[in-house]
């Protein structure tokens, strides 16, 4: 399918690549950058794994400061404390008595999960039929703590219907009320689904970064290979040969595809090497914990996870090719490398900005027809499809359509580039000329 002459041109480019230090530098930047990032990540995580003794399931510690003085032998505060203890039979909660002088220190140090302060006039206010108050200081985002908070409030209602509480903390108080009204599992649901939406936004950015890191070095190499022919005046000798003009374009595309392939393989190899290194660095007594974790992760992943991965990888290949096609297309018309760089940088910024918009705006609420149209866009459509699939938890049909659209964009790009060089003449084509024709 690929003409012989395209291979000859691509091979020539590769040969030239290894004759220039500047180009070799460009080629190896990405794997090197990634290598250092991953090396850093692995060193840090190994360091963390080694220091943590009891890794998970730390019980929520509830510190109670019982300051209630009581009146005539009645002490509602200490009753509240006893009630709390009897109603929370699980081992997850401890109650530690602390003196009021420690309150400020504790608050400043943030060294608590939940801090419950029962003030000195607690009994007095209840006895005089006024609404009594206690204070809750909440420190953290975990669901366990949210449940604990709602239980504390529930217990306080058993004690006296009129008790008010003041709440200070990171967790939205509305959630606590919600969990009071319904069951505690509702509260957990609320928290989980919102976290998912946010995670989807970040996960959508990962393919974008993969594209940027894997394709940008190849993109600038392809750009150089096209513009240098014009600048060095070798383009003339190229088009004088008995090959089709389209083969020249195909040759440059092939070169770009080989570079992206090379970059990907180099990156994957360096990641595997680093992960192995990281595994070796983990202390022996903890190694046993890692492999079962990976095993269960693979075993519990159902078929849809694998299909999703396949979708992402096919998409990445297509989108990389699309980016290379755009590089060839736009540098063909540039009079030199600088002009090509200017045009292509401007074009790269658009999807970057739009991807952030897609990732963090509530796009899932858009009209389905508009969504499908968005998914047809080059590059952006693919990222949008990933985002929607992450949100809905399944690969939507539109996602596959978006993959086909990416392929179509590549073919359209190659076809238009071919037509342009045939009709305008590869020597004469330029942005200025194209622009002038339209005006």
């Amino acid at each position: 399918m690929i003409p012989q002459s395209a291979w000859i041109i691509a091979k020539k480019e590769l040969k030239l690549l290894f004759k220039s230090t500047r180009r070799i530098f460009l080629l190896f930047t990405t794997p090197l950058i990634l290598f250092f990032i991953f090396a850093l990540m692995i060193i840090v995580s190994v360091a963390i794994i080694s220091t943590i003794e009891e890794p998970v399931e730390k019980p929520v510690e509830i510190l109670v400061i019982q300051d209630d003085k009581g009146i005539d032998g009645t002490n509602w505060g200490s009753q509240f404390y006893t009630l709390l203890k009897t109603h929370n039979l699980t081992k997850d909660y401890y109650y530690t008595n602390k003196s009021v002088t420690e309150l400020n220190n504790l608050l400043e140090s943030s060294n608590y999960s939940i801090l419950l302060y029962i003030p000195a006039n607690f009994t007095e206010t209840i006895n005089s039929s006024l609404p009594a108050q206690f204070y809750l200081y909440y420190n953290g985002t975990g669901t366990e703590s949210a449940i604990a908070v709602s239980r504390i409030i529930g217990v306080s209602q058993i004690l006296n219907q009129q008790i008010l509480f003041y709440y200070y903390g990171i967790l939205d108080p509305n959630r606590i009320y919600t969990s009071l009204g319904g069951s505690t599992t509702d509260a957990i649901d609320v928290i989980d689904s919102e976290l998912e939406g946010f995670a989807a936004s970040f996960l959508t950015l990962i393919p974008l970064y993969a594209i940027i890191l894997l394709v940008i070095p190849s993109l600038s190499l392809v750009l150089i290979s096209v513009t240098i022919e014009r600048e060095q005046k070798t383009l003339e000798s190229l088009i004088l040969q008995p090959i089709r003009r389209k083969s020249i374009i195909a040759g440059k595309l092939l070169y770009g595809a080989l570079l992206v392939g090379f970059n990907t393989v180099a990156t994957v190899i360096s990641i595997i090497a680093l992960l192995t290194l990281g595994y070796i660095m983990i202390p022996n007594e903890r190694k046993g914990e890692i492999l079962p974790l990976i095993e269960t992760a693979i075993k519990t992943a159902d078929i849809s996870v694998w299909i999703f991965l396949l979708f992402v990888i096919i998409g990445l290949i297509l989108v990389s090719l699309l980016t290379i096609t755009a590089a060839v297309f736009f540098s063909l018309m540039a009079k030199d490398e600088r002009e090509a760089n200017m045009v292509i940088s401007a074009l790269v910024i658009i999807p970057l900005v739009l991807t952030f918009l897609i990732a963090f705006l509530p796009v899932e609420k858009l009209d389905p027809i508009l969504q499908t149209v968005l998914m047809l866009l080059p590059l952006l459509g693919y990222l949008f499809a990933i985002h929607l699939s992450l949100l809905t938890g399944e690969i939507i049909i539109g996602a596959w359509i978006s993959l086909i659209a990416q392929l179509a964009w590549i073919l359209i790009g190659v076809w238009i580039a071919g037509r342009l060089v045939e009709s305008e003449g590869i020597l004469e084509i330029s942005y200025r000329r194209l622009f002038r024709r339209k005006t």
Partner: protein, 292 residues
Amino acid sequence: MKSNKYGTKNTFLQENTCELSLEPRIIHCFVMRMETIAIATDRLSKIYNMNRKNEVQALRDLNIRIKKGEIYGLLGENGAGKTTTVRILTTMIKATSGTASIFENDVVTESSAVRKMLGCLPQDAGLYEEFSAIENLDFIAKLRGLKQEDRKTQITNLIKTINLEERKNDRVETYSGGMKRRLMIARAMIGEPQVLFLDEPTAGIDVLVSRRVREIIKTLAKQNNITVLMSTHDMISAERICDRVGVLHKGVLIAEDTPPKIIQEYAGEQNDLEDAVVNLIGWTGDSDEVFE
């Protein structure tokens, strides 16, 4: 030498074969009739649009016929349209109007067939600076579809011809201007083309190589029957090796004949080609006056 499949169909005097008489001139033409036309143009014109307002008519109604094995010199002042002619004939750019063909293959519609037959040295061509002479030639030889052994023998011979054996493995970026030019001449000859276009082949090369290049061109044309169209400002070369020369002035062909005839007709007391060309360009002034 491969012969063209249209080889003998097109003849030099196709359009006036009817006026057969026994005049010596016509008999001469009758003999020429058997000769194949290598390069033919018909009212070839080219207009460059510099911007929306400015246009340059680089070539106007050019009609030339160059026979197989002929060495044709294109002369004329800077900006006369020589390079434009070469570029159209070698399929690099398209004419605004008119047609051109190489061995009856149209340069636009049958450009691939045309490119197979021609070798070209563009006026301001370049080389892959990081490649050596060998690598530069090898790349072009591969694109022309030459077999491994053919490539090797042709490249060795060409390197010998342009006298670049000592530096053949050095990067081109370390060459002098003339050495690069010599390499480009060699590049134009790869694949044994039947028609050779040389846009100022002797510009920037020393007298020894210049003489050598002249010899090569002459040998190619006379022994291998290769057709050569060269544009040049080098009157010595034109006078010594060209069978015919055409003088372009502001895109119009104002004279065309053998160098001795041109000299005889237009040269003054100096009696050389340079004198004739200077007189031609000087005389005519604005080409419009002469031709309209």
